[in-house]
């Protein structure tokens, strides 16, 4: 992929607080100065909508003024794992993973099942079959993140954004979550992966 997959700017009090340019086909780690900036970036990418003091370009085109159909087409190419994970509590892990594909009929369910099984195996889920039958409320934060990530893989997005990969995880879980990057890259060699985190104090 050539050019920028994502370009984002946030102005506050007349000056540019956040300026981000993510080339297509790369993996980037964005460290944002505060929670508000991080939330606004993720929300802007998720909704393909920006406020007056923001600028967002996705795949080289500004999102401001997009028509509904154009916005929907853009959503098809983007996958986001948010802090809240967006899992539906009365659906088990498999139903959560397969719901978008089954609803939009974008990919055969057998293909999604294959993706889910192999991804879970390579990310260290002990018994994928049993794991997929569990409800989100029965899972720890890492397992929820895993389900949200596998759902993202099943969508095969050209641009994947992962918000706060290590947040809420212990050291061992963070180490396992770090394998998400290799897993995404193995499936989407040309895709763009952006990790969004808060900057550690003094590093901005």
């Amino acid at each position: 992929m050539s050019g920028l997959a994502l370009r984002y700017e946030l102005k506050r009090e007349g000056r540019t607080e956040v300026s981000l340019a993510v080339p297509g086909g790369t993996t980037q780690h964005a460290r944002l100065p505060d929670g508000e900036a991080k939330t606004r970036l993720v929300a802007a990418v998720l909704s393909a909508h920006v406020a007056g003091n923001e600028e967002l370009e996705l795949f080289g085109a500004p999102v401001r003024g997009l028509k509904r159909a154009e916005r929907a087409r853009l959503h098809d190419r983007i996958g986001v794992v948010t802090q809240a994970m967006g899992l539906i509590s009365n659906l088990n892990a498999w139903e959560n993973i397969s719901l978008p594909a089954a609803y939009h009929r974008t990919r055969p369910i057998a293909e999604v099942a294959q993706t889910a099984r192999t991804a879970l195996e390579s990310l260290g889920a002990a018994d994928p079959q049993r794991f997929l039958a569990r409800l989100p409320d029965e899972m720890d934060p890492f397992e929820k993140k895993l389900v949200a990530f596998v759902r993202l893989l099943a969508k095969a997005p050209a641009l994947a954004v992962i918000d706060g990969l290590g947040e809420g995880l212990n050291r061992e879980q963070s180490a396992r979550a770090a394998r998400f990057e290799a897993e995404y890259r193995a499936r989407q060699p040309e895709g763009t992966l952006l990790f969004v985190d808060l900057a550690e104090e003094g590093s901005v």
């Binding site: 998720l46 909704s47 929907a72 959503h75 098809d76 986001v80 809240a84 967006g86 899992l87 539906i88 509590s89 009365n90 139903e95 719901l99 978008p100 089954a102 609803y103 939009h104 009929r105």
Partner: protein, 258 residues
């Protein structure tokens, strides 16, 4: 007053949305959700009503024959009028309000408050398509099925249990019943029960999707509103049906003939 008007307007909008979005049933997850709703509302509720429905039929027959000193014909007529036309659909509606209405309103309110409905929208899944259409249709189907089941149990239970309490044989009650029953009795009660199911599901979906507060306190408030308004809706529909059938049709015809 303004809140009431807003609720009526919201309910009408929801009603329009449900009908316009019926084609969503072509999608596999929506169909699965519909089957799940029918199973929860109809099948899992059915075990709890066996004894109550059977006892109800026996009570009506015994009460009519003992207290009113009626013969088997009148007792069976009352069984038909009361159980088939009125109590059957009403009992099913009450079971549906108490089990399914509370479940739908609390589940949807919780989903709304915890951002799960926003998550669905972000996946490009319309909440009306995925959450409302299968629930409304599923509750309608299940309420009609539950009504048939309660009617069957009440009539059969009444005929089997009554001979132990009063001087009436099973054969006599059975014969009278099939002499007096008409398909219109079933059609009337099924139509009415489907309307009950529709009203209950719509009311509960509306309050679940529009909780009064976006905190956990909003869940019980949404459930309370959903249940009380569902009960009012069911009783109103019942009164309208009773007026149309007994007031306009029956008495209208009697007066016209006289």
């Amino acid at each position: 007053m303004i809140r009431a008007l807003r609720e009526v307007e919201g309910g009408l909008r929801l009603l329009m949305n449900v009908w316009l979005r019926m084609p969503a049933l072509a999608r596999a997850p929506v169909r699965e959700s519909l089957l799940r709703q029918v199973y929860f509302t109809g099948v899992t509720a059915s075990t709890g009503v066996v004894l109550r429905a059977s006892g109800l039929g026996a009570l009506i027959i015994a009460f009519t024959m003992q207290v009113l000193d009626a013969d088997t014909t009148l007792a069976v007529k009352i069984l038909l009028w009361v159980v088939l036309r009125e109590v059957g659909p009403l009992a099913a509606a009450m079971v549906v309000i108490l089990r399914t209405g509370t479940a739908i309103s609390s589940e949807l309110a919780m989903m709304r408050i915890t951002g799960q409905i926003d998550a669905l929208r972000r996946m490009g899944i319309e909440a009306y398509d995925y959450l409302v259409v299968p629930r409304v249709l599923g509750v309608m189907i299940a309420t009609a099925a539950l009504t048939c089941y309660i009617q069957f149990l009440a009539v059969l239970g009444g005929m089997i249990l009554s001979p132990f309490v009063i001087q009436a044989s099973f054969t006599e009650l059975y014969t009278r019943f099939f002499e007096l029953v008409a398909p219109i009795d079933f059609a009337y009660s099924i139509l009415k029960s489907m309307m009950f199911g529709f009203a209950v599901a719509l009311t509960c979906c509306y309050h679940g999707l529009n909780p009064p507060a976006f905190t956990l306190n909003g869940v019980p408030q949404a459930v309370t509103r959903a249940v009380t308004q569902s009960a009012v809706a069911v009783l109103t529909i019942n009164a309208v049906f009773a007026y149309l059938v007994f007031g306009v049709l029956f008495f209208g015809l009697v007066k016209a003939v006289a």
